[in-house]
Amino acid sequence: MKTKRIALAVAAALGFGSGMAQAQISDNVVRIGVLTDMSGAYSDLSGAGAVTAAKMAVEDFQAKEKPGFAIEIVSADHQNKGDISSNKAREWFDRDKVDVVTELVTTSTALAVMKVAKEKNKIALISGAASTRITNEDCNDVTVHWTYDTYSVANGTAKAVVKQGGKSWFFLTADYAFGHSLEKDASDVVVANGGKVLGSVRHPFPGTDFSSFLLKAQASGAQVIGLANAGTDTTNSIKQAAEFGITPKQSLAGLLMFITDIHSLGLKTTQTMYLTEGFYWDLNDETRAWSKRFFAHAKKMPTMVQAGEYSAIMHYLKGVKATGSDDTQKVMAWMKKTPVNDFFAKNAAIRQDGRLVHDMYLMQVKKPEESKYPWDYYHVRQTIPAAEAFQPLSASKCPLVKK
C-alpha cells in the first residue's frame, strides 16, 4: 500500500477569515481518501486512473469555486481485501482525520469500509464496487453508491439481448457472492422478458482455464452464454470461447464489462457484443472535453468508475462549500437534496437507500472496420432512463426506505 499525500493548493487556506463558515470545517482542511486497487485485477478500471480523476475534481473545484478551505487527497492500495481496506479506513478516520473515503472497487472492500464509516460517522462514496447489497440489506445513511451496480448493468444487457432474439441462455458464473448475484439479476430479467434459462455452470474464482466450463455451455445448445464474472475472468472466457470455436455460433453477453476490457481484448474478439455502462467518453461534447483532459494525464480514456469518482468528489465538495461544514449529516443532507448535474450525470438524485440514479447506456461493440479513431469502440444503442435503469425503490431491502 502506498500512501501518498498531496497537499493541493495550500494557498487556498489563505482565505482564512472569509466568513463564519470555515469555523465548522475541522482544522480547516477537507481530507479525501481514495482507497482503490492499485496493483490487482481491477487496477486498470479504477486504480491510478481513479486517483487522477480525484485530483482533477479537486483542482477544478479549487479553480472554479475558490473555497476558503484546503483540500488534501490521500490514497492507498487496498489489494481487493476487505480486512486491509477496513484497517486502512479505520486508521484514516482515527489518526489522519480523513473526512470521506471514496472509490472502493470490489464489493468486499466497499462493504467493509462502509461499516467503518458508519461507526465513525464519516462518509463513503462508492464508485467501483458492483453489488446491490450496498443499497439493500447492507445499506446505511453515510454511503452513496455512485456509478453502477449489478442490477443496472445486467438489466440493460440482458433485456436488449433477449429483445434481439437471444431467447435461450446459459450462464458461466464466477463461484462467489458477486457472481451469484450477477447471475440472479440477469436471469430474472431474461425470464421476465420472455426468454428462458437452460442452466448455468460455476467456475472457481479466480480461474485461468475455462475450457471445460465453456464446453458445457456449448453442449447446452443455448443461443447466448451469459458471462456472470468480471475482470480477467471475463476476458479469459471470451478468448477461450473463440479458441474452442464457440463464438460466433453461440453469442456471448458480458454482464459486467468495462471499456478497458474491450481495449485489452480488441474489437476483433469482442465485436457486436452488448454491454451496459454508466458512462462513455464519446457520448457528447461535454464528456469528450472532460475525457480528453483525463487522457492527457492518464494516457487512456476514462472508465465509468473513474468518471463517477470525479463526479462524486465534485458533488461532495460542493456540499461542503454550500453548508460551510464537513459535518457528515449536514453534507449528506445537502447531497441528497441537491440534484447532480455534471458531464457524468444529468438531473440525477440520491435516493434514501444511498443509490444515485442516473441514465445508463446500452452499448454494442463496433466492428473493427467501423472504428474510426483510437478508443472508438461503442455504438450507443439505447439510453436507459434513470427511472428504469436501477432496481426500483419499492423492491429495496434497505431498512432506511420508508414504505
Binding site: M1, S108, L111, A112
Partner: protein, 311 residues
C-alpha cells in the same frame, strides 16, 4: 535464570501489556495478541511434538467464520460465539489429525497443506461465508451481558485475558506428563513406541489441542475486526505462522510471541511503504532464518545468555 526472576519477568510483561493501550493503537496490539496466540498454538505442534503443519490457517479461518456466523446470524452471546469457534476448529483439527498423522515428516506437511486448501475452496463456495466479500459486520456484543465490547479499551482487556489464559494453558501442557511424552516423540518416536505408548493417540491429541487454540485466536480476531475473510484461511496465513514461530524460536515458550510481534508490526509498518514487496521481505526473512538463524530470536538470545553465565 531462577524461578523468581522468571516470575518477575512475566509480571513486568503483564504490567506493560496492561498499560499498552494508553500509548499504542489498541487495535494493533490486539492483532498482535491474536497472532501471538495463533503462533503459540502452532508451536505446541512444531516445537514440542516435531510436527510441521502447513495448514493451520484452516483452523484460524474456520473458527473466525463460525464465530462470525453465530454472532451475526444467530445472535448468540459473545462468550458462546467464541466457544463455538474454538470447538469447531478443534473438531476440524480432529479430522485433519486423523488423516495427517498417518504420514510423517514432509508428507505430513503436504497433507495438512492440501487439506487446508480444500477447506479454503469450501469457504469460497459456501453461502454463509459470503465468499470473496467475507463475513462483514459481526457485532462484538456484550460480555456476560454487561461489558460493552464495542469500546476498544474494554475489548482490549478481554482479549488480553483470553490470550494470557490460553498462554498459561499451553505453558501447563508443556510441563505436564503429557507434554513430556510429546517432547519424547519429537526426540525419538521409535523409543516412545517401544515404551508402550500409543504415539498416534498422543499426536492426535496434540493436534486437536493446537487446532482448538488456533481457533480461539481466530475467533478472538473476528471480534476485534468485526469480520472474517478468506485471508484468514489462505495458505499465506499458514506460512506466516510458520515464519513467526521460526523467527521467534521454535520450541521456546516465548519465541512465537516475539515472532508474531515482530512480523505483525513489520507488516503494519511496511505495508504503506513498499506495497506488495512485503511478501518478498517475508520470504527473505524465511530464507535467512533457515540458513543462518535456525534457533530464532529467543533461541539465540537464550544461547547467548547461557554462554555468558556458564562462562
Amino acid at each position: 535464570m531462577t524461578d523468581k526472576r522468571i516470575l518477575l519477568a512475566y509480571l513486568a510483561l503483564l504490567v506493560a501489556l496492561l498499560a499498552a493501550p494508553l500509548v499504542l493503537y489498541p487495535v494493533l496490539v490486539m492483532k498482535i495478541l491474536c497472532f501471538a496466540l495463533f503462533a503459540c498454538a502452532f508451536n505446541l505442534l512444531l516445537g514440542y511434538t516435531g510436527l510441521l503443519s502447513f495448514g493451520h490457517a484452516a483452523f484460524l479461518g474456520s473458527a473466525a467464520y463460525v464465530t462470525g456466523h453465530v454472532l451475526k446470524a444467530w445472535a448468540w452471546p459473545t462468550e458462546l460465539g467464541l466457544l463455538a469457534g474454538t470447538l469447531a476448529a478443534a473438531a476440524l483439527g480432529w479430522v485433519f489429525g486423523v488423516l495427517a498423522i498417518r504420514r510423517s515428516g514432509i508428507y505430513f506437511a503436504m497433507v495438512t497443506l492440501a487439506l487446508a486448501q480444500m477447506v479454503y475452496f469450501i469457504f469460497i463456495q459456501a453461502p454463509f461465508t459470503g465468499g470473496e466479500d467475507g463475513l462483514q459486520g459481526v457485532p462484538r456484543g456484550y460480555l456476560f451481558g454487561v461489558i460493552d465490547l464495542a469500546d476498544d479499551r474494554n475489548l482490549y482487556y478481554v482479549v488480553l485475558t483470553i490470550c494470557v489464559g490460553a498462554f498459561w494453558l499451553i505453558q501447563r501442557t508443556i510441563h505436564s506428563p503429557f507434554g513430556q511424552i510429546l517432547k519424547a516423540i519429537r526426540e525419538n518416536e521409535a523409543r516412545v513406541v517401544s515404551l508402550g505408548y500409543d504415539v498416534a493417540k498422543y499426536k492426535l491429541l496434540a493436534f486437536v489441542l493446537s487446532a482448538g487454540l488456533a481457533g480461539l485466536a481466530g475467533a478472538t480476531k473476528t471480534l476485534v475486526f468485526k469480520f472474517a475473510t478468506l485471508t484468514d484461511a489462505h495458505w499465506h496465513a499458514s506460512g506466516e505462522v510458520v515464519l513467526m514461530t521460526l523467527l521467534g524460536g521454535m520450541g521456546t515458550i516465548f519465541g512465537p510471541v516475539v515472532g508474531a510481534s515482530v512480523i505483525v508490526t513489520l507488516q503494519n509498518e511496511l505495508a504503506d511503504k513498499v506495497g506488495s514487496l512485503v511478501t518478498v521481505i517475508m520470504g527473505g526473512i524465511f530464507v535467512l532464518c533457515v540458513l543462518a538463524f535456525r534457533r530464532g530470536i529467543v533461541g539465540e538470545a537464550a544461547a547467548l545468555y547461557r554462554r555468558m553465565v556458564g562462562r
